[in-house]
Every structure is written in C-alpha cells, then in structure tokens.
C-alpha cells in the first residue's frame, strides 16, 4: 500500500498512534454486529409469531371439527333416551397402536364401561342396522390404525340423524344416518387409502373428509360417513 505523502495542510498535527483504518474497521464491525443483532431479533420475532400462528391454526382446526360435530350431533335422539341426549364423545379416545385387529376404542383415563363403538351403541342395539354400522366402523377404525401403523387419536365420534332435526322426527326411533368422526393421525396416505376402502364397504354409502389441518407431522381430520341404505 502506498503511503500518502506528508502534508501538514491536511492536518497540521496528529497525535493519534492508532491508524484511522483500524478505527474504520472497528466501526464496520460494529455496524455488522448491529445488523446481526437486528436480524437475530427479527428472526426471534418471526419464530414467536409463527409459533403463535401454528397454535392458533391448530386450535381453530380443532374448534372447527368440534363445532362441525356439535352442529349435527346435538339433536341425536337415541331410542328410549331423553330429548337432547347424544352420544357425542368430546373426550380424547385412543386406539391402541399394537394388535390392531383386536383393538378397540378406549377413553383415556376413564373407567367408562363403553369400550368400543359397539359398546357405545348399546343404547341403539334395538336397531340392527345401527349396530351393524357401528360394528363396521369399529372394524374400519382398527383397519385404519393397522394401515397407518401408528397412533390414532379419535377426538370425537358423533352419531346423528338429520331427519330428527325436525321436531316430529324426534319421536321416531330411527338409527343415526350420519357419523362425524374427528381423528388425528400421522400420514396423509393412510387416511386416503382408508377412505377409499371405506367407500368400497357395502355398508357405507359416502365418506368425505370435510376438514383437515396439519400440525407438525400429525393431521387432524373431520370425516363424515353416511351409512348405506338409510341416508335421507
């Protein structure tokens, strides 16, 4: 590097022994540190916002599924049951991941004697078509769990009969004709394949995934199932 010739007209005295280039470099470093700090703060803020957003999305999806289920399940009228009594299950129900063939739905942390869909359908046992559908569903859920090879969480399982929405229909002892299932499971492929299988079942007329939300590696599905032969 060439040295600048001595010229006192620029600066007639200079005491400082630290070269100005050193100070310039220090200032440049400080600027970089400030930018790094700014970017780090920004990333932290984004992380917080993303986390909040994901949480909100999860909550919304769950609320949506619950609302969807509640909207059509509140009027389920079981044979011999009081008006408004429903079989809505808002508790989290787990399916055991191993021994899928024999697995049944269980409530978590409760001693509820209703161990399976079939058991929960005890009150509709008088209706053979409902019992058949419930048994079918139980087996299908076990199949889904077997297919996915992982844990299946059933958030809610609602039975309802759209025909009973009318006041008159409450008096009719008809089995539910629509099932709303809210489950979460890992893996899109498992639920797709399961829905295809469901559609092939003679007892099922229609299977539709009405809502889904993916939170990390788990997807929450809200599925409506229309049993065959008894649709409105």
């Amino acid at each position: 590097m060439t040295r600048k010739p001595f010229d006192p007209s620029d600066q007639w005295q200079l005491f400082e022994l630290i070269p100005s280039e050193y100070f310039a470099k220090q200032k440049a470093h400080q600027t970089i540190y400030v930018w790094f700090a700014f970017i780090a703060a920004l990333m932290a803020l984004l992380a917080v916002l993303t986390s909040v957003g994901l949480r909100k999305q999860y909550v919304q999806a769950h609320q949506h599924a619950t609302r969807a289920a509640n909207a059509i399940s509140g009027d389920i009228q079981a044979p011999g049951a009081a008006k408004g009594d429903s079989l809505r299950l808002n508790e989290v129900v787990l399916v055991e991941p191993r021994g899928a063939a024999n697995a049944s739905l269980q409530r978590t942390g409760t001693d509820d004697p209703m161990r399976s869909v079939v058991a929960r359908a005890e009150r509709w046992r008088s209706d053979p078509s409902f019992v058949a559908m419930a048994r079918e569903l139980d087996q299908l859920l076990a199949k889904l769990m077997e297919r996915s090879g992982t844990e299946l969480t059933v958030h809610s399982l609602d039975f309802q009969n759209p025909r009973s929405w009318t006041e008159d229909a409450f008096e009719e002892d008809t089995a539910p004709s629509l099932v709303t299932l809210s489950i979460s499971i890992r893996g899109q492929h498992a639920i797709d394949a399961w829905c295809r299988d469901m559609r092939d079942e003679p007892s099922i007329k229609q299977v539709e995934v009405v809502a889904s939300a993916t939170i990390r590696d788990e997807t929450l599905y809200t599925i409506t199932i229309v049993p065959a032969g008894d649709s409105p």
Binding site: R3, F6, W12, Q13, L14, F15, E16, L17, P19, K27
Partner: protein
Amino acid sequence: MSSTNSLLSPVSPSPEMPAASSLPSERETKRRPLAAASAVNARTLVGIEVGMVGARIASLKQFHPDVEKYRWVGRFDFSFPAESGPFNRQRATECIRTLAERLPRCMDGDRNEAVIGLPLHWMQLQTTFGTEVDSFVDSSEQHFAESGFEGNSHISYWPVVGEHHGKPKQEDQYVVATLPETLIIELVDAVARQGYSVRSALPTPVALNHAAFPLTGIDAQCLVSLDQHSASISVQHRSGIGLTRKLPSLVSQSKDDVPVTDSSALSPYLRQLSKAIRETLVFSSRSDMSSLSNKPVLITGELAETEGIESKLATQLEMPVAVWSLLGTAGPAATDSGESDEPTPLRDSCRFASAISLARTATCTGDWGYEG
C-alpha cells in the same frame, strides 16, 4: 451501566512468568475499592502506560458525566520479563503478551475506556522539517523491517512551534514519531480482548503534557519524565506540546539498576540531565522566537519521588522545578469513599503521573481516537 467497583483486580501471573514478588520493580500499590453509592453512572477511565521495563495502570472514575472531577479508583504496575538485547519484534511480542496476561480484568457490564501510552523507545522519534518527513518515515520503515516489523509505519507528528505563529507549513519543524502499524494494532487488540474499550494510543509525553495543567494546576514550561530506564522532555508552548525528545536515562549512564533513594547520589546524573534540559529549552525558545521562560520545569516519574531532587535540579538548571502532584480536590482524590477528600501526599502520585494523565485523556477522545 454498573456503578459498582469496576476493575483493577490483579491477575495472577502465568506459569511461565516469574512470580510477582520476584520481579525486581514489581509492586502492587494500594487499590481502593469504590463505594458503590457514591458513583453516579460514572464510566471508568483507564490509563495504560507501557514503559520500557513494565507497565503502569491507573483508573479514574468521573463523579458525574457533566463535571470534570475524578476519583482515583486504583493503580497497578508490573514488570515485563527481563530485557535482553535491543527492542525488536520478539521483545514487543513478549511485552504485549505480558500486558495481556497482567492487565486487571474488567467486570462484565462496566465501561472501561482505555488510552494506551507508548514509550518513546518503541518509536523512531526525530525533530525534522516537514519537507524531510517522508524520507524519515522511509528510513524508519527500513529500520523497523530490520527489527522484524513488516508493513507500513504510522506517523504521529506535531510542530515544534505551535499554531500561535500561524498554521504550521511544510517548511516548519515537526516532531515526528513513527511506529510499525502491526505493533500498534497487535497491542490495541491485546488490550481490547481483555474487555477494554481502547479509545486512543498516544506517545506518553503527549498525554502527560496535555493533562498536566488540568490535573496539577501548574503552568509549566516543560514536562520532564524521569524513570530509571528512560527519560524524556516535552516543551509546552502557547498552542500545546512542542519540542519533545529523549533524555539520557539514569541506567544508561550508571549501568546500575539499584533504586535511588538519595538525591545526592543523583548529582552526576542531574548535572548531565540539566544540561540536556537547558539545551532543549534554549532550542525551543529560539524556534519560538522568545526568551527562556520563567515558568517551572515540571518533573514526574519514579526518580521525581526522590526527596530533594527538585531543589538539586533547580540549582543545576537555575530554573524553578516543581514535582508533579494532583491539584487538591479538583483532581483524583485518593480516598475510599470519595466523600471526604484526603490530601494526596506530594510524591504519591508522581510515579503514576503518565498513567493518570492517559486516563484523563480518555475524556478527550472520539470515534477516531484522540481529539486533542
């Protein structure tokens, strides 16, 4: 910013260093803890005087950011490993490493603004005309290269005659000090790594000269720094520092490193010294187109602590001689609490005059170093 006691907790020497007590001039002077309640968001100003055989560190704390009144926080000194041969790259590296190892550690959160004073014997110092500065720098670079310092030299300069005779021009005489850039950057980095915010690095006589009047209240015609291994003079004129040069040192004359406690033992040296001082003052006054001043000659350094030295030197010089001492309560007060200032013993602060001056110089620094 913390207002608690800040620094000057001495660091234990490294295994390869001699033990502190075994170093000949090693001494740790009294360190006074700062009363936390008395400091009002004060920053700590640290002066690091790198000497020929050791370093002296003094720290001041400002009472209030808006008031130029300081309290003496602490002082500390230590020796470099014993000198062997001429000053070169290896010696500089040794000194810098020792400095980094022995510097008092900073407390997290404290703001310690440091100014480093460099000894004249680390530099090439010459009084020359402005037209000859470039050739002097070239020869300095060649000399530094022979001593193992590669790269450019940084120059520091100021005119022998100040601005009071008009803006100095190319034809005027300048005091020019050159220093290898690599050396100064290595030193500053080493100090900065210990947590200090290095605000400036100056030739020690510059800081001593500029801070002399505010700290001592003595309007001197020149500052004479007298240590056993080095001595220098810097003339003060109406615009600031003027002619600055090295003086013969006691050790180089006597080849004896025994501490001097009796001024009569210094007589032969003082005779030689007074001759050099007088020649410098005559040269300076002639350049300044003025007669010899009647102002006192201000002496500092460890030899200035010797009882009676000022009267002996005054006799030799035929000029008044004053010993550097802090100006009452306006300067740093050597008290524990800072609430009741005790009088500072006359010669107590003399040895640390340069370090205290450097610390005070930290108030005159900006983004680009010393602002005069």
